[in-house]
C-alpha cells in the first residue's frame, strides 16, 4: 500500500502540530520515522491509521481516499499498548474472530504467532496483568496476526529486552517479505532504524526535515 500526503496541516487548538507539504511512503518497504519528542510522529501515524480525521490536506492510499473498509487492511500498534480485558489468547485472537474466521484457523494462527513472539506461556494470563514488555509483545502479535497491508508501529519495542528485540525485528522483516506488508515504524533507537528500515524520515516540529534513501 503506498501512501501520498499532500499539504497536510494538523492543529491542536491554535498550535500547529504537523505541516507536511509532500510525503510519500513507498509500498512494500519498511519506513522509519525518527525525531525528537513532541515532533508530531504519533499524531501523523494516528492520522494515517484513519483514527484522526481532523486535518487539512489530502492523503491517499494506493491513490484512493481513506474509506472505512480500509480499517480492515491497516493496523496500528499504539505507543501505549492498550490491551483488552480478557486473556492473552482471546486478545490476540480477537481480530481474527471478528473477521469470522473458522475456529480451527483462529486457533492455529493465534498459537503460531504467540510462539513466534515468545509469549505462548502467557496465553491464559489476563492481558491487563502483564508486564510492560509482555504487553508490548501481545499488542504487536495482535497487529501482525491480521496480515494487514499496512502496519503502523509507534515505538513498538521501547520496553522490550534486547534479546526479544531481535526476535521482533526478525518477525517484522519476515512479514514485510512474505506478505508484502508495508511497514511504517516510529522509533527513538537510531540503530534500530538503520537495522530495520529501507527508508528513514526525520520529523521535527511537525515538518519533514530530511528524507533519505538509506545508505
Amino acid at each position: 500500500m503506498d501512501i501520498e500526503i499532500k499539504n497536510l496541516k494538523k492543529y491542536f487548538g491554535t498550535k500547529m502540530i504537523l505541516d507536511i507539504e509532500e510525503l510519500k511512503f513507498k509500498k512494500n518497504i519498511i519506513t522509519g520515522i525518527i525525531g525528537p519528542n513532541g515532533a508530531g510522529k504519533s499524531t501523523l501515524i494516528n492520522i494515517l491509521a484513519g483514527l484522526d480525521k481532523e486535518y487539512q490536506g489530502s492523503i491517499t492510499y494506493n491513490k484512493e481516499k481513506f474509506n472505512d473498509s480500509m480499517y480492515l487492511d491497516i493496523t496500528l500498534v499504539f505507543q501505549k499498548p492498550y490491551l483488552l480485558n480478557r486473556k492473552v489468547y482471546e486478545d490476540v485472537a480477537y481480530p481474527l474472530k471478528i473477521r469470522k474466521l473458522k475456529k480451527s484457523v483462529v486457533k492455529e494462527k493465534t498459537n503460531e504467532i504467540l510462539k513466534e513472539l515468545g509469549i505462548y506461556h502467557l496465553r491464559d494470563q489476563k492481558s491487563t496483568q502483564l508486564s510492560g514488555g509482555e504487553a508490548q509483545k501481545v499488542s504487536l502479535a495482535r497487529a501482525v496476526i491480521i496480515e494487514p497491508e499496512l502496519i503502523l508501529l509507534d515505538e513498538p519495542t521501547s520496553s522490550i529486552d534486547e534479546d526479544s528485540i531481535s526476535t521482533l525485528e526478525r518477525v517484522l522483516k519476515e512479514y514485510n517479505k512474505e506478505y508484502n506488508t508495508t511497514i511504517i515504524i516510529i522509533t527513538h533507537d537510531i540503530e534500530q532504524a538503520y537495522r530495520l528500515c529501507d527508508e528513514i524520515i526525520f520529523l521535527k516540529n511537525g515538518r519533514v526535515e530530511d528524507k533519505d534513501g538509506l545508505f
Binding site: A49, Y71, I74, F78, Y94, P95, I98, I146
Partner: protein, 229 residues
C-alpha cells in the same frame, strides 16, 4: 420508635409465615422490576454506547436533555401510560390497564432515560479510546459497540444495579397503571403505600425490610456475574 422495632419483628415473622399473598406480591415485584430493568438495559446499552461515541451536532444539548429525563417523576410516567392504555385511549383495545404488563411498560419507560443516561455518559467518557483500538483491529460498527460493552462491563454493572434500584423502589407508576389490585397488581411498594395510608406503620416498615432483602438477593446475583478480586 416502637413502630420501627415492631416493624423489624413483623418483617421477620412475615417472611416465615409463608403467607401466600405475601409471596405473590414479592414475586410480582421482582418479575415486574427485573423485566423492566432487563428491557430498558437491553435497549439502553447499545443505544447509549453508540450515541456516546458518535459525534453529532448539539451533542452537549442532547446530553443535558437526556440527563433531564432521568428526573421524570414516576407519577407522570404512570399517568401518561395509563392515558395511552386507558380503554378509550389509542391502545385501549389491548385491555392492558391494571395488568402486570402495563406495570412493566410503565417501569420500563420510567427507567429507560436513567439507563440510557448512565450508559451514554460512560461511553462518552471512555468509549472513544476503545473504539480506536477496535478500529485498528478491524472491528465494524457493531463489533465496536460490543467491544465497548465488554470492556466497560464492570462499570456497566453499577448502572444496572442503579436502574434496578430505581425500578423496585418506585411506587408512582405501578400504582397508577397497576391500581394496586389485590391478587393481581399489588407489589411491595404499593402495599407499603397502602399500609402507610391505613396507619399500619409497622407493617409498612416490615414490607420495606422485605423489599431490601429481595434487593439484596437480586444484587447478589448480578454481583456474582461481575466477580472482582
Amino acid at each position: 420508635m416502637d413502630y420501627i422495632l415492631q416493624g423489624l419483628k413483623e418483617g421477620i415473622l412475615l417472611l416465615f409465615k409463608l403467607d401466600k399473598e405475601l409471596y405473590r406480591i414479592i414475586f410480582l415485584s421482582v418479575a415486574v422490576s427485573s423485566t423492566a430493568t432487563a428491557l430498558s438495559s437491553f435497549l439502553a446499552i447499545p443505544i447509549g454506547v453508540y450515541l456516546g461515541i458518535k459525534r453529532f451536532r448539539l451533542k452537549g444539548l442532547f446530553s443535558r436533555i437526556l440527563y433531564t429525563f432521568m428526573s421524570i417523576p414516576s407519577v407522570v410516567v404512570g399517568l401518561l401510560v395509563a392515558i395511552s392504555l386507558s380503554r378509550r385511549g389509542p391502545l385501549g383495545s389491548l385491555q392492558l390497564l391494571y395488568t402486570p404488563t402495563a406495570m412493566i411498560i410503565a417501569q420500563t419507560i420510567l427507567v429507560f432515560p436513567l439507563a440510557l443516561g448512565l450508559v451514554y455518559n460512560l461511553s462518552k467518557n471512555r468509549g472513544k479510546e476503545i473504539e480506536k483500538i477496535g478500529l485498528t483491529l478491524g472491528a465494524r460498527r457493531f463489533d465496536v459497540i460490543i467491544l465497548i460493552v465488554r470492556e466497560l462491563k464492570i462499570y456497566l454493572f453499577i448502572n444496572v444495579i442503579t436502574v434496578f434500584s430505581r425500578a423496585i423502589s418506585e411506587v408512582g407508576a405501578v400504582m397508577i397503571v397497576g391500581g394496586n389490585i389485590k391478587g393481581h397488581t399489588r407489589v411491595i411498594t404499593t402495599s407499603i403505600a397502602m399500609f402507610n395510608s391505613m396507619g399500619s406503620y409497622s407493617r409498612a416498615i416490615a414490607l420495606g425490610l422485605v423489599l431490601l432483602l429481595i434487593s439484596f438477593l437480586i444484587n447478589s446475583i448480578i454481583y456474582s456475574y461481575n466477580k472482582e478480586d
